[in-house]
């Protein structure tokens, strides 16, 4: 994606730093614990489809 084509260029250094910070923002949420309501939602959906007609396919 930003494979060091011109690492010594200060402008591509800015670009690399932008990507670094973008990853940091993304990873911060990525590492957060999943809220219960989301895992519970999946449990409910699973139960509902098990009670009903079961899995499609």
């Amino acid at each position: 994606m930003y494979a060091g084509m011109s690492d010594n260029n200060p402008k591509s250094k800015i670009r690399d730093q932008i990507d670094e910070n973008l990853k940091r923002i993304y990873d911060e949420t990525l590492k957060e614990e999943i809220p219960d309501r989301l895992t519970q939602l999946l449990d409910q959906l699973r139960k509902k489809s098990a009670d009903g007609s079961g899995r499609a396919s």
Partner: protein, 198 residues
Amino acid sequence: MAQNLDTADTTQNTAPHPRDQLVGYLPSLRAFAMSLTRNRSTADDLVQDTIVKAWSNIDKFNVGTNLQAWLFTILRNTYYSSLRRTRREVADPEGIHAQGLFVRPDHDGRLAYGDFQRAFDQLSPEHREVLTLVGASGFSCEEAAVTMGVAVGTVKSRASRARKRLSSLMGLAEGEDAFPGVDHASMAVMGRSGMQAA
């Protein structure tokens, strides 16, 4: 699906049903949702809607294709259609980035993270989306294009404009050549769609 013929009785050897894979995508769905909404509870609402839609439409998913891209597409389409309904509602970045004044890059020239976050918050959702997809999620431009439902060239030009905007918000660069890696030809061609995102 096709593998079921050979491995019908050894479920360990077949890929889990897509519905059973959803839980594994919750972290990346939340991260992507946060990049669009910049608000944790709105992001989780969005992930919740996405999961419900994905669950009930799972038969529309093409097994063997990129499940993450499929989920991200549902998420961003859900987001943009709700955004159209409430376009005037201003995102609340939870005040997390409101603290502190703008600080110049420190002595080694690195961007201060707080400044970066504030600048990122000020981008349009479309710009945050493209930068997150190609700059952070690990998607290729092609995968981002599929997710966003646009041409690869549009992804590249929009990403380039978003980077420029981000740089200028941080007072780092304003010139045409801020980022020599970008494809200027496609930028010229795709300028119009870039404008939509601006």
